[in-house]
């Protein structure tokens, strides 16, 4: 046997035996793009920690996640909302819900406004963002116009805000004046102005120039988001169908463990622990 042939055979054997050595169980997860970054990060760490299970994560939206888990196309569905009645009617009531994180959105104003306005009702916030209230004096502030800053469509923060205030993420905030791409850009726009209102993910609060106000009398903190008293919040869910399998349970327990919840905090969400 010459050298070339030998190298080739070794190569061939190596290729053929790799799948045999790594005969791990593959766990597929799909759904909400809000949950996606958290799940993907957790999967990355989880896959490195053990060899028995390989977790694969893909996006597609909450509706897609629920449909996929119900029809067996995926093992776990990710959703940034609860399963709907229409979906339970369609696929049967065998969904098992696992809350893995909470997400709160703070309504923020320029510090000059904060001196006079520290609390708004959901209705007032809706009128402001819809362009029906145009002056701060109508809500007890100074006689200044209101600059409404929002996030671009596709933002999970925008969806949470629109769902809580307007009732649906498909609604339009007609009073908007600037659309920003990121939390940090939103923060810059609000801190440069002295008459602005906008919203930020909880992880981006802080600093002197941008102040979070109370909504219906409740200030946004980790505690008020966790216990559900702060109104602009939602939970992030993983759904399994029927009995949760051993592999599914292992991954979900990992996310709920201290290590998994640390990743959730790093991604800007509120831990459920």
């Amino acid at each position: 046997m010459d050298k070339k042939k030998m190298i080739f055979s070794i190569f061939l054997i190596a290729i053929l035996t790799v799948p045999a050595v790594h005969s791990a169980e593959v766990l597929t997860i799909t759904g909400s793009s809000t949950v996606l970054p958290v799940a993907a990060k957790c999967a990355e760490v989880f896959n490195e920690k053990q060899d028995d299970i390989i977790v694969q994560v893909s996006g597609g939206g909450s509706g897609h996640g629920i449909e996929a888990v119900a029809t067996g196309k995926a093992d776990i569905g990710m959703a940034s909302r609860e399963v709907k009645d229409s979906e339970i009617n369609k696929y049967g009531d065998r969904f098992i819900e696992h809350t893995i994180a909470k997400d709160g959105v703070a309504v923020v104003v320029s510090s000059d406004i904060y001196k006079k306005v520290q609390n708004l009702t959901k209705e007032q916030i809706k009128m402001i963002f819809d362009g029906k209230i145009k002056n701060w004096k109508e809500v007890g502030g100074p006689d200044r116009r209101i600059l409404v800053v929002v996030r671009k469509s596709g933002s999970g923060t925008r969806d949470t805000f629109m769902e809580a205030i307007f009732g649906s993420s498909k609604e339009e905030a007609r009073g908007k004046y600037i659309e920003t791409s990121e939390n940090s850009e939103m923060k810059t726009a609000i801190s440069q102005s002295d008459i602005a209102i906008g919203y930020l993910g909880l992880g981006y609060l802080g600093g002197k120039e941008v102040k979070a106000i109370a909504v219906d009398g409740v200030f946004p903190t980790k505690e008020t988001v966790k216990d559900g008293t702060y109104p602009i919040a939602r939970s992030l869910y993983l759904y399994t169908m029927g009995k949760t399998s051993l592999e599914e349970g292992k991954f979900i327990n990992f996310i709920l463990s201290e290590e998994g919840q640390k990743i959730i905090k790093e991604e800007g969400f509120v831990s459920v622990r």
Partner: protein
């Protein structure tokens, strides 16, 4: 044998050069075909009329109308090119006719340097300096506006207008100038009645190229225009925020699911942009050919 080999080598080099020369045409062709293929669906699905004249662009409801973006691009382009023309052409006249050589040696490279500053740097400066000063000067709700975009892109278009107009004015034959002066015309009369009319096609070409540059600019405009796809009221209101065609593509492309209507609609914007820019370039080229014929040099 040796001669034969040399012939083959010659031929090979010739072919390679030909391929290099033709590659840019092939690339343009592929871009056209690809854009058309991806964008055609948007025109069919939205309806040509609704897609171009619709006043709402909302991904949430799946309505895609380009009117706010087209008006936005139009306003910013008119503003920016107007700004650049008013500042740029006098500056080109000064550079080519009046500036002493030593001053020209400093001014020209400086103008060219403006051209090589990355657009994101312009955008950054715009956000930090321009927005707040505009807001305070004009008592606007906020600095994010077509006006801010116009001024920023106007500065970016300046070098295009100055360098090309300068070349056009410089290439006006000396005898024309001297003839005019010999007839007793003053320097200003010579510039106005003789030099500028002879250079007018070059100046027009510079303006058209500036329009192309401004239309295609994305990063800087995205940071200062506000990105709100809404038809301003009245529709020529420079003091309101809005959005442009390029900025909309850039802000939504990352989120658009491949193959969705949103994805195709963004390509639809690209098709329209490419058509506009191509037409502008062809016109600028025709003008350049005309000027070369008239002045009689390459």
């Amino acid at each position: 044998m040796r001669a034969n080999f040399k012939n083959i080598k010659e031929k090979l080099i010739e072919d390679l050069l030909f391929i290099a020369a033709i590659s840019s045409i092939v690339v343009i062709l592929f871009i056209f075909i690809f854009l058309m293929k991806e964008g055609a669906f948007a025109f069919l699905e939205n309806g040509v009329f609704n897609f171009i004249f619709g006043t709402k662009w909302r991904m949430e409801t799946g309505t895609y109308g380009m009117a706010p973006l087209i008006i936005g691009s139009l306003l910013v382009t008119i503003g920016a090119v107007g700004f650049a023309t008013i500042l740029g052409i006098p500056s080109a006249i000064f550079l080519s006719e009046l500036a002493p050589p030593r001053m020209g040696n400093i001014l020209k490279p400086t103008v060219e340097l403006l051209n090589s500053i990355p657009s994101i740097v312009y955008g950054f400066i715009g956000v930090v300096l321009l927005l707040t000063s505009l807001r305070d000067t004009f008592d606007m709700i906020d600095g994010h506006s077509f006006l801010a975009g116009s001024i920023l892109l106007g500065v970016m278009a300046l070098p295009t207008i100055i360098t090309i107009s300068d070349d056009a004015i410089t290439s006006v034959p000396k005898d024309l100038r001297e003839g005019s002066l010999a007839l007793g015309a003053t320097r200003w009369q010579t510039i106005r009645r003789v030099v500028l009319p002879s250079a007018i096609s070059g100046i027009m070409a510079s303006i058209l190229l500036a329009i192309g540059r401004v239309l295609g600019e994305t990063m800087a405009i995205m940071l200062v225009v506000g990105c709100v796809a809404r038809v301003p009221s009245p529709f020529f209101n420079f003091f309101q925020s809005g959005d442009t065609m390029t900025a909309r593509i850039a802000s939504e492309m990352g989120e658009a699911a491949r193959g969705s209507l949103q994805y195709h609609s963004l390509f639809g914007i690209g098709v329209l942009l490419l058509i506009i820019v191509t037409v502008l370039n062809v016109i600028a080229d025709l003008i350049r050919v005309r000027i070369q014929k008239k002045v009689g040099r390459g």
